[in-house]
């Protein structure tokens, strides 16, 4: 049993930490509610979910798998070319459904009443990784996603069995085509190496025996699990020291008797939620709880979330946000009412976490593996893009009517692109008017150069000219600061900056960093009197831009 947290230490900061880790840190208001409870009550409120509804419906846009293919192949009159065209259309339809599925899942993670259930579903997706790159029917991918939700904090053996019998896993690791004549070892190998025991706990012979035992685990035309007796190898096998006419269920039974299973799974849970490598005592204490409960996940999580170690300085504010966590907290910080989930899903892909398409069967390594020069720059540039995408969507709904030059149109879907085009034209018109008036004052050669840069320059160059000449700023740069920023308390610039850090970051800032942000807010000195609502919107936007360009903003 891990040493529990001292209830006297419970604070708004630790409540926020709990919401970050046992959820996605959103909505922010929920952290306030957790802080008002005891630690036990707070943790139990997050663990209090079952299979029931969470306020978000399952997707209703998934095509039914199989049926069309069977219909077509049943028609003798359909020619080869036509058949191929129909199948290509079908594949395309499925690919589009998977794209929608990504956005749908982000939406569910964002809006669910049970954030821990979604966080666990994401954990299991990385643990039992399959990819829609290979598993074409979107329905198969969603069905496995639903299995992760159904068994999120429940019986791990029931989860592993359901995964092993899912169409997504059976096709991803090719077991659906594994026969006694040609046993396929993929599933058997990964089941031991990645899903239950870890490397070094078994031999190649055990893989071969398990592969034979799982022959026959397959799917029917609709993706439902079936045991194909004619494909199964009924012969005698020896697996981890046990000999008999073993089948797939026997292999799972034997795996769950292995002492290596509990510490392997518990260490991975700790790494995911705490973000650090567990010491042996922590791992073994959780493993003991796991075994004693008959491999139930919930008691392990409860002990972990209530432990002193989970709320220690080594853990709080030291985990690198996953791309999913990053975009969800970002739209919450930006207070975007209707987040552009499809754009966010594309951003997650660019940042290395493509939902339903993990890079391989090992899932995502997480933490520092999320970060390289490339992804970090993209993270720093993302707030502007997301704000822009949200504004383009707002514009479609008639919310705003201008926008500007920092567009990255590649990030947008077609209607948003059209809206963006209209906004850009409106802004250019506005800019053109100001340019005509302002450029008259310049010498001819400078005027020509300024015109050229405004027309052809990179965004940074255009902005340099725009600011140098005092021309109208692109609208999205005038006011990207979230509304709440104007209401932050504090009588001096430094006090406002402290309040910003407290609200938007998991760790405090040092005096030098605060001074930079205070200057951005428009204060001559950090101790200059300045209330947030008095700072001009452009200055608040600049300060917020710098805040989200902090290394600290990557941490939760």
């Amino acid at each position: 049993m891990l040493k529990p947290i001292d209830p006297d230490r419970w604070s708004p900061r630790l409540a926020r930490h709990l919401l970050n880790r046992a959820g996605f840190g959103v909505p922010r208001a929920r952290a306030g509610a957790l802080a008002a409870l005891t630690p036990e009550a707070a943790v139990d409120s997050l663990l209090a979910f079952d299979d029931g509804p969470d306020g978000v419906d399952d997707p209703d846009f998934l095509p039914e798998p199989g049926r069309l293919g069977r219909m077509v192949s049943g028609l003798e009159s359909v020619g080869h070319a036509e058949r191929q065209a129909i199948q290509a259309d079908k594949r395309q339809e499925e690919r589009e459904a998977v794209q929608r599925l990504k956005a749908w899942w982000l939406m569910r993670m964002h809006r669910t009443a049970h954030p821990l259930r979604e966080k666990l579903a994401l954990f299991w997706h990385g643990h039992f990784a399959t990819s829609a790159q290979k598993v074409n029917p979107s329905r198969f991918n969603f069905d496995l996603n639903a299995i992760f939700r159904r068994h999120a904090a429940g019986d791990f053996k029931a989860l592993a069995t359901a995964v092993g019998q899912s169409a997504a896993m059976l096709t991803y690791l090719d077991n659906h085509r594994s026969t006694w004549r040609h046993p396929n070892e993929n599933w058997a190998r990964e089941l031991m190496e990645l899903f239950t025991l870890g490397q070094g706990q078994y031999g190649e012979d055990d893989i071969k025996a398990a592969a034979r035992a799982f022959t026959g685990w397959s799917i029917d035309g609709d993706g439902a699990f079936i045991h194909r007796v004619e494909a199964h190898d009924p012969g005698e096998k020896t697996f981890l020291g046990r000999t008999g006419r073993l089948d797939g269920w026997d292999i799972l039974d034997i795996l769950f008797e292995q002492p290596a299973l509990a510490p392997f799974v518990c260490a991975k849970l700790w790494r995911h939620f705490a973000g650090t490598e567990p010491d042996a005592a922590t791992r073994d204490a959780l493993a003991e709880t796991f075994r004693a409960s008959g491999h139930a996940i919930r008691p392990v999580l409860r002990e972990m979330f209530l432990s002193e170690a989970f709320h220690s300085d080594a853990v709080v504010g030291t985990q690198i946000k996953s791309p999913v966590q990053f975009v969800l907290q970002l739209v919450d910080d930006l207070e975007i009412a209707q987040p552009p989930y499809a754009v966010m899903a594309q951003a997650c892909r660019a940042l290395g976490q493509d939902l339903f398409q993990p890079p391989n069967v090992k899932g995502w390594d997480g933490n520092r593996a999320w970060i390289n020069a490339n992804t970090l720059l993209q993270r720093y540039n993302l707030p502007g893009r997301i704000a822009l995408a949200a504004r383009a969507a707002d514009h479609l709904r008639g919310g705003i009517d201008t926008d500007g030059a920092m567009a990255d149109a590649a990030m947008l879907d077609a209607p948003a692109k059209d809206a963006l085009g209209r906004m850009q034209r409106a802004y250019r018109k506005e800019l053109e008017g100001a340019v005509r008036a302002r450029l008259e004052e310049l010498p001819a050669d400078e005027r020509a150069r300024a015109r050229q840069v405004l027309r052809d320059g990179a965004p940074g160059e255009r902005l340099a000219v725009i600011t140098a000449l005092g021309l109208p700023l692109p609208p999205e740069l005038r006011d990207t600061a979230p509304p709440a920023l104007a209401g932050l308390p504090g009588a001096t610039a430094d006090a406002v900056v402290r309040a910003m850090a407290d609200r938007y970051l998991a760790t405090p800032l040092d005096a030098d960093q605060r001074a930079v942000l205070a200057r951005a807010l428009g204060a001559a000195a950090p101790d200059a009197p300045l209330r947030a609502e008095a700072a001009p919107p452009g200055a608040r936007a600049a300060a917020f831009h710098l805040l989200t360009s902090l290394a600290e903003y990557q941490l939760c």
């Binding site: 020619g79 070319a81 191929q84 065209a85 290509a88 990819s131 290979k134 070892e185 990964e190 030291t318 985990q319 690198i320 892909r349 660019a350 890079p359 391989n360 069967v361 090992k362 390594d365 520092r368 970060i371 390289n372 020069a373 490339n374 970090l376 720059l377 720093y380 540039n381 502007g384 590649a410 052809d456 320059g457 990179a458 965004p459 940074g460 160059e461 902005l463 725009i466 600011t467 700023l473 740069l477 760790t507 030098d512 960093q513 930079v516 942000l517 200057r519 951005a520 452009g538 936007a541 600049a542 300060a543 831009h545 710098l546 360009s549 902090l550 290394a551 600290e552 990557q554 941490l555």
Partner: protein, 406 residues
């Protein structure tokens, strides 16, 4: 960045008015400065043909009756083939490659594949990019493993540079090297127009953090990224890549950009470009011709540009696809996913001509060619012969280099 470019534009205008080449061009030709973190100044350019290029209609076994029997409608004959010898030829759309071949700048490796080939695009591409066997899932890429095993700590993040929005799996590594950008001139943090400029961005991330901490790691990576993006933008400026030209819609192809970045002196060891569309299940003839015309012209133009820039001696280009296509044409005038296919190596450093044996067309595995050369041997040849690296930690033991590099 804006100042640099403005000065460059002014400077270039002056030079061209006087009829001189800008000085950096002559410098690039003369200097042999090693790429940061590597022992020499050599560059590898990987060109990925996505979708599965039809190898048999690329390097054509025109002298084989079995080829013509298997493809009554799609087989190339007569003027559609540039004969290399009585058996082999190139698709006539690859005329620019034949010129490279005749100049001793082109090596063709035939029948490249691997055991138990996978016919899924995704999985096959993963196998090629991670240099794994078809029964293994590797977490890192082959170029990434090369970085992890050979380059010194002074290597820049742009040691690997992919043109496009996505960093290829081939770059995945422990050392974090490798960037992706579709516009090198704009690779970097986007400054704001107010007090949120580049100086402020550097300042707020400039402080010291507890060594080894995650924050320290993030700040270190940030500073590295700032420096790297400045270097990429500078090289793009010097090489005339992207930026103003891109805005005017005159971006040119990815290989033009690569030539420009090499000319601009970027510390990049491996460039990665890709072109898709090779999945020719139906109506292949016209489409495949168009694709090959594009590839052939781009490769030849790239090589000419390198020669003009004086950088050709430094550059080797490697062309691959995730699989070839079925020997027999299908009923839709196309071809389905297959196995082994030829690879191209282009550059002054190649040992020109045909390498390896063409897979026999009469000894097939369920309608597909049996590979005669494992692709990891080609990687090993490039690693050992061109990059001077031990191939074993990258592709594993048992994949001996071929004599592809002079």
């Amino acid at each position: 960045m804006s100042l640099t470019r403005r000065h460059f534009l002014q400077g270039a205008a002056v030079f061209s008015a006087l009829g001189f080449a800008p000085r950096f061009l002559t410098q690039a030709a003369a200097a042999a400065t090693p790429i940061h973190g590597f022992g020499d100044d050599r560059v590898l350019v990987v060109v990925q043909l996505g979708g599965g290029n039809d190898g048999l209609n690329t390097v054509v076994p025109h002298g084989d009756d079995a080829y013509h029997r298997a493809r009554p409608r799609l087989a190339l004959r007569g003027a559609q083939v540039l004969r290399l010898d009585d058996y082999h030829g190139l698709n006539a759309k690859l005329e620019p490659l034949r010129a490279l071949h005749d100049d001793g700048r082109l090596a063709i490796v035939q029948g490249v594949g691997y055991p138990n080939p996978d016919r899924s695009h995704f999985r096959a591409m993963e196998i090629w990019q991670t240099a794994s066997g078809s029964d293994r899932f590797l977490g890192d890429g082959w170029i990434g493993r090369y970085f992890d095993n050979t380059c010194a700590g002074s290597a820049r993040p742009q040691a690997g540079l992919a043109l496009g929005n996505e960093r290829p799996q081939a770059f995945d590594c422990a050392c974090g090297l490798g960037i992706a950008t579709d516009d090198p001139a704009r690779f970097g943090w986007q400054p704001g127009a107010g007090a949120d400029g580049e100086a402020a961005f550097a300042a707020i991330n400039g402080g010291a953090a507890s060594p080894g901490s995650t924050l320290d790691f993030l700040r270190h990576t940030t500073r590295n990224a700032i420096q790297s993006s400045a270097e990429v933008q500078r090289a793009a400026d010097r090489g005339g890549v992207g930026g103003l030209a891109a805005d005017r819609g005159a971006r040119g192809n990815q290989l033009d950009m690569v030539a420009g970045l090499i000319r601009g002196g970027l510390d990049t060891r491996v460039y990665y470009v890709s072109v898709g569309g090779f999945d020719t299940h139906a109506g292949q003839a016209g489409r495949h011709d168009t694709l090959l015309s594009g590839v052939g012209a781009a490769l030849a133009k790239f090589q000419r540009q390198l020669e003009r820039d004086g950088t050709a001696h430094r550059v080797l280009t490697l062309v691959f696809s995730e699989f070839g296509r079925r020997v027999a044409e299908n009923a839709s005038d196309g071809t389905d996913h297959g196995t082994a296919a030829p690879m191209f190596l282009v550059g002054r450093g190649v040992r020109p001509g045909l390498h390896g044996a063409h897979p026999p067309l009469t000894d097939l595995d369920r309608g597909d060619l049996k590979h005669t050369v494992d692709f990891r041997r080609v990687y090993a040849s490039v690693l050992r012969g061109w990059l001077g690296a031990d191939p074993v930690p990258v592709v594993g033991a048992g994949f001996d280099p071929l004599p592809l590099i002079a």
